[in-house]
Symmetry: C2
């Protein structure tokens, strides 16, 4: 993510134009509106049509209030009056961003926003409207359901949670069977991420309504099985999660949902760390999945895959602000070796959820179509 | 809720017995454990075997950190060192409690806990283990699903969200049809409350596994349709919500789930404000429901109900710390008038979720059994 130094502004008690402390500032349009991810009735944070974000925090006795946007420790300072107010110095990237506050040295969430699980904690979130946001908008079309299931896991000695997207009309005709995509979140996130941050259910609803894809089921579960407490990647071992996914969750899904329960109709995809998991599990278990997708989650080299006949599609993607050349080169090499490989680069986005919403939108029509 | 003045204690850098500032303090067992509602990996807040709660907040530069437990504005003061630590002066009631922090005059959540929608905002929550917690525990039994649905609502010109509990094995046999309970949250809560705070899905799973109830579907949606921004009750008008529930949601559920779609197999229940809604809608629409339940949500008088033959059960409940006599007297009057009425009083609980978990546990076996 880019750095967004804050413009320090005085808190205003009357409405009117803000008085910026920096004279050389580009004009900021005063058309700020509440972020779409705010809690009901909360006016702040706000976003304007240029993509600037404005924050307003009530903490009259505080010594310092900062807004932390992004992993790089970007700290935004705010002015103090009865409330703390500040605006980013420049437009933010389109799409979803995690953030939190630092108040007098402690980490808290902005009480204005809904919470999203990232960085192994529930964080604040803000949405900068994207020019192409229509594909994940809530529309007046038939909607699929997102089901919370609790499935038995002997290996971890508990009932584990997953979310299952079922397409509109699922279940009305029991003889109608669906392919299944197993879709993983990134490091520090959990099984809520693809619905809450990714709007994957709305993307599916819209694609199905437009007749652009073959409807399928999506299964999302927690992928950090072996280190639930700290979420560390240093000693990450794929085996515990692989056991949960392949030996416990897949059989449960095939026993309890109307699935096409064979390799030809089973895909695995993941973002970031979920891509690492996808790569390891698809290679460890070449008989289970036939569609592979890594979203900002690394690449496959032709040499990784022993039997080409197992693989119907390899999809690799990332944001243009990540390492697009690596993705493009990997896909070229896979194609040269005879694989059906597709690359996608999300323009003007980094390692964030708009990259993954767009990647999913590109991936979905390709799944189960070969 | 009772008042819980805080014991001010010094933050300790080494483990050891705490030094209380009040000499006449009853001995507090030092067997504190993280609350079951904490975020993954978070050690605080903690609860001991006596029901004391201990809070620990990192905010090194703050001037004051308080814990607000309950609607009465109970403020717990904390000592300051590198962290802020404090313990309630007495045991808290068993069960779930909403709370939040006041840091230097601003309202924030405790970063240690999961968030729960109450008081029209996402709040912190703490769980004091109840002696009878087994009935809502996550057990190794078959689990039903909680499905998020988005249903079309012409009256509010949007797709609205509801959660639908379906019993274990639901849908495997399409000819198996289920009765339906419409279950409402309280003021300032939303459609997530009965699952997140109430564990209603786990109560159902356990009751079904023990063969104690006739399995049914539960539908939970947002009940403050007419005042989404401020959630005020002053000018509450039941009509907008009644339209959503009766004219839009019920037809959608009957069209999309395997329901017994008649009055004999339809119940409505609500807690607190949801009880008020239940009373108004069941009386306005006497042809729709046949089982009525108000949980800490008022009473029916015999005169309220014009045609006794529409009503198979009236269930009224509250906590012993509310107004149990009002519930008992109302049920006696209903019985005298020939109604099948049942009262339930939850011992040692107030207007909080343990009252409603227990009330639901008592109600469920009675539903659809007359």
């Amino acid at each position: 993510m880019k750095n967004y130094p804050i413009i320090v502004v005085l808190a205003l008690t009357t409405s009117g134009s803000l008085c910026f402390s920096q004279a050389d500032q580009t004009a900021i349009f005063e058309d700020f509106k509440p972020s779409t991810l705010n809690q009901p009735g909360k006016d702040y944070p706000q976003v304007n049509s240029q993509g600037y974000a404005r924050f307003r925090i009530e903490a009259p006795g505080a010594q310092s209030v900062k807004v932390n946007l992004g992993k790089g420790g970007i700290i935004l300072k705010m002015a103090k009056d009865t409330t703390w107010v500040g605006t980013t110095e420049g437009p933010m990237d389109e799409g979803f961003h995690y953030y939190h506050l630092t108040i007098d040295g402690g980490v808290f969430n902005d009480p204005g926003t809904l919470n999203f699980y990232g960085s192994t904690r529930w964080e604040s979130g803000i949405e900068i409207p994207a020019h192409d946001e229509d594909f994940y908008a809530l529309k007046d079309v038939p909607h699929g359901n997102v089901q919370q299931i609790l499935f038995p896991s002997k290996s971890t000695k508990t009932s584990r949670r997953a979310f299952v997207y079922t397409p509109p009309g699922y279940g009305k005709d029991q003889s109608k069977l669906f392919p299944v995509l197993y879709l993983q979140h990134g490091w520090g996130e959990d099984e809520t991420a693809w619905s809450n941050q990714g709007h994957v259910n709305l993307i599916m609803d819209n694609l199905i309504a437009e007749g652009k894809i073959r409807p399928f089921i999506i299964v999302m579960t927690y992928g950090m099985t072996n280190d639930i407490k700290f979420g560390g990647l240093r000693n990450f071992d794929i085996k515990p999660f692989q056991t949960v996914l392949v030996d416990e969750l897949i059989p449960y899904i095939d026993a309890n949902f109307n699935t096409l329960a064979d390799q030809n109709h089973r895909a695995m995809a993941g973002l970031s760390m979920g891509g690492m998991e996808t790569k390891q599990i698809t290679l460890n278990k070449p008989e289970v999945f036939s569609y592979y997708a890594l979203l900002s989650g690394g690449i496959y080299a032709p040499v990784d895959i022993k039997d080409k006949s197992n693989v119907k599609l390899i999809f690799l993607s990332c944001g243009s602000k990540e390492r697009p050349d690596g993705i493009k080169n990997a896909v070229a090499a896979l194609k040269d070796s005879g694989f059906n490989a597709v690359s996608y680069i999300s323009e003007n986005t980094a390692h964030e959820f708009l990259t993954w919403r767009r990647s999913f939108y590109q991936l979905a029509p390709l799944l189960f179509s070969y």
